[in-house]
């Protein structure tokens, strides 16, 4: 029973990493191929790699955080406020990581032209 709740909560954390990581993978390939200036190209690829690492961190909350939350869920009489408080660090971490990704995305924009960006990041299909 409690595991059902853990599962239902965990699915709500984080961008869907596979799709975002795939997008960054493709962007790295495009940047390596299409950006002629070596300095801009290298800076962009390095930044994209850091973005990728951050997305992967979002997809894997630290084990101690999850364990602490699960331990609380195991307690039969854990209260709703206690449970909400235990979720807060997980939530805050996700928000911070997402803010970091956006900050890197804004920096990446300074390395690429609008045309290069359009090739690196086409809108998702559908």
């Amino acid at each position: 029973m409690l595991i059902a709740i853990v599962a239902a909560i965990l699915i709500a954390l984080g961008l869907q990493s596979g799709e975002v990581v795939g997008t960054i993978d493709r962007a790295i390939e495009v940047v390596e191929e299409k950006v002629p200036d070596r300095d801009r190209r290298e800076a962009a690829v390095e930044l994209l790699a850091r973005m990728q690492e951050t997305v992967e961190q979002m997809a894997a909350p630290p084990r101690p955080m999850i364990r602490k939350f699960v331990d609380l869920l195991r307690r039969h009489r854990a209260s709703a406020p206690d449970l909400r408080r235990a979720l807060e660090p997980l939530e805050q971490r996700q928000v911070q990581l997402e803010e970091r990704i956006v900050a890197m995305r804004m920096l990446l924009r300074t390395y690429l032209t609008a045309e290069e960006w359009a090739e690196a990041f086409p809108p998702p299909a559908g």
Binding site: I3, A7, T23, V70, L73, L83, R105, P123
Partner: protein, 152 residues
Amino acid sequence: MLHPVDPRGPAQGCVVILALAGCLFLGGCRSDQQAVEPPSDADRLVEEIRRVVPASDRADDLVAIVVRIETLQARQLDAEAEYTRRWLVLNADYDATASDFESLREARTTRRKTYFDTLTNLRVEAAALLTTEEWRRLESARGRVRDSILGS
């Protein structure tokens, strides 16, 4: 090992947390979205409740909670997929600003808070329907799965 699947693996669009959720919820480890709600596994969870909780009215209420959780979870999965899609659309716009991303995230945070609040309330409701012994038996039945994921 916390990651049941490699996020860069062959299953395109695979969600690591979703896979973890599938493992925790249903006791299996698969890498696709269907892992969360195959009827046979949901039925197993219901059977487990029926076996552990002898009073049928309480068991009925617990099963109703499981169904509600499943419904909420399915809706949340859809909402998360839509959030990721909208995030990628915004990212594709060269002129999108940090504040555009923040607006998108704020709307999602509000929705997610409602989801978490509902879930925690359902959890407390479920706990109130169970004796300590029933709670322990239901929990231990899932312990092996949990420990295999979280490590002992």
